[in-house]
């Protein structure tokens, strides 16, 4: 009943029986009406983004990662030295003009090797994570959505891979392709053994989203199961998948360095911090600085991604706040 109708009605009552009807401006209802209905609805993503923007850990890690990305994409901006130009007469020379970190055992410029190493670490980390998330989500979502024997088979395969430590599996496979290969061989091996935990999380998320009301509503409106999966279930299962993706990115960078350190990772022609650390390990007593620079670069990169992962986790999964 609008205000005019109320006023009209009140005019009909006899004198003495009149009641005062306050105009809406004078009632508390005013505040309800003043809610801006045209403002966009805040989604979980907008909320998460607001939390992220105000998290100092996110800002620090985002700046670090941006710098690392620039270094990885345009290493030529930071050094004019060729990291693979090495002459033995400069072997283990101390820092000098244009060579702030000095030279390693083979006489390569340490600074340019640290700069060019960023490209290897960043590309392995990012590509491995993308591939792991893609494979893990497809397998996990298939298992969770179809259930039944599909789920049983996929989950048993998952159990088998879960029991096999990723480092062990990676060494065995990489041993076969020791001589050949680009970073893709490492990325593929990481995806082969890394999809397991993402698949478990994707399966769980899809299973719980499948039973929510919006899914029933959408089915009642005539959606096909496939459309339900792609338009409703997957977008609602994405948060935990993104969280595990970001938190594990740093782990893949460590894994690449570890494999290169063990000598089964990238060929020595590729500049890799892990490989440089391996080459420098005998210099621990005499020239620890050669060991120090690639180690610090590696640690800072991993730290940036771990912090980013923590921040994303806090924003998307408020139940597990770390700070």
């Amino acid at each position: 009943m609008t205000q005019e109708e109320l006023m009209h009605k009140s005019e009909e009552v006899l004198p003495g029986q009149q009641r005062y009807v306050a105009p809406i401006e004078q009632t508390p209802l005013q505040s309800v009406d003043s809610v801006n209905e045209s403002a966009p609805a805040t989604s979980m993503w907008a909320d998460a983004w607001r939390t992220l923007r105000h998290n100092p850990m996110f800002i620090v890690s985002a700046i670090l990662i941006l710098i690392l990305l620039v270094v990885a994409i345009f290493p030529g901006l930071f050094t004019h030295q060729d990291p693979n130009y090495c002459t033995l007469d400069t072997s283990l020379d101390p820092p000098s003009a244009g060579h702030p970190f000095g030279f390693d055992m083979q006489g390569c410029d340490m600074y340019s090797r640290v700069i060019y190493g960023a490209r290897t670490s960043m590309s392995v980390g990012i590509l491995a994570t993308l591939l792991v998330v893609l494979i893990g989500t497809i397998i996990g979502a298939t298992a969770g959505f179809f259930g039944g024997w599909v789920d049983a088979v996929l989950s048993r395969i998952n159990d088998i891979f879960f029991a096999l430590p990723i480092l062990l599996g990676a060494i065995v496979v990489l041993q076969m392709f020791k001589t050949s290969g680009s970073i893709w061989k490492i990325v593929l091996v990481m995806a082969l053994f890394g999809w397991v935990s993402t698949a478990r999380i994707a399966r769980g998320a899809v299973l719980s989203a499948k039973n929510l009301e919006f899914n029933t509503a959408s089915t009642a409106l005539g959606s096909t199961p496939m459309r339900n999966l792609l338009r409703h279930i997957l977008p609602n299962s994405l948060a935990p998948i993104i969280v595990i993706g970001t938190t594990s990115l740093g782990t893949y960078i460590v894994l690449e360095a570890t494999l290169s350190f063990l000598g089964v990772g990238l060929p020595t022609s590729t500049v890799s911090w892990g490989g440089d650390i391996a080459k420098a390990q005998d210099l621990l007593r005499t020239d620890p600085m050669v060991l120090f620079y690639p180690s610090v670069a590696l640690a800072i990169t991993v730290l940036a991604f771990i912090m980013m992962g923590d921040a994303v986790k806090d924003a998307l999964d408020p139940k597990s706040r770390t700070a």
Binding site: R156, L167, A257, T258, L298, I306, A323
Partner: protein
Amino acid sequence: MGKYLLRRILQMIPVVLGTTLLVYALVFALPGDPVKAMFGDKPVNEAVAAQIRAEYNLDKPFIIQYLLFLKNALTLDFGNTFAGQPVIDEIGRAFPVTIKLALMAFAFEAIFGVVFGVISGLKKGKWYDSVILIVSLLLISVPTFVTGFLGQYFLGVQWSILPVTAGADPGFIDLLMPAMVLGSVSMAYIIRLTRSEVSSNIALDYVRTARAKGLSNRSVIMRHILRNSLIPVVTYLGQDLGALMGGAMISETIFNIHGIGFLTYQSILKGEATLVVSIVTLLMLIFVVCNLIVDMLYAALDPRIRYA
């Protein structure tokens, strides 16, 4: 309880079979002919080579080789290495060292992880909470082999507190630094896990009730907060004990410890298929059994969980 245990053990069988088959297939596909390698620089005597192949079942198809391996493994006969040593002896030599190392690392991470985590969680926002948090973040970021070198450089070379490498038959002191390095990453995770559990439990109603009953601070923390916070920590620790044995590969290589990790790495490099598969099978059994024990421990820690 017994029924549950039986079901879990039965469920383990296909996983163990699948994983050994996977590893066997991977190692089988390794390039290079180990029999040819045994002859070194000498020309290969085909008759002898054929005899060796027959002895190691290398002349049979892959699946037969695998089934023969399984059949023998059931009687604890894992065959011989290509150097003629029984695999079980090699493992028997390396295993006690790794167990010692893993248990020390386990004790290190469990004690320091929980203690620092509880301190941090109880006093959230204090300066030592921030220090503990930053140090644990750093430990997670720095790869094990870098932590190892840092330890070797400072504790070993600069200050000469601990031996730089462990020898053939390492004692407690020799294994102290490797164990700390091995357990450091997990310790950092345990600190973070314990911290977030304690700090979220501390605000719950049952803690207020316990305090209202007049219990001492010590009793509230030990009997109420800690017991409830430790359930996820125990899960993590249980899974980690199995992972520590496999993860010892890096620390054993750096510190020259002749344990299981070192042996695994060496045998992968040499293409010693039987040795690799035997070790992986063993590690996996340990891993699965640890997980089972963790699930049993749940019931002890959390009376709400009962296994029918």
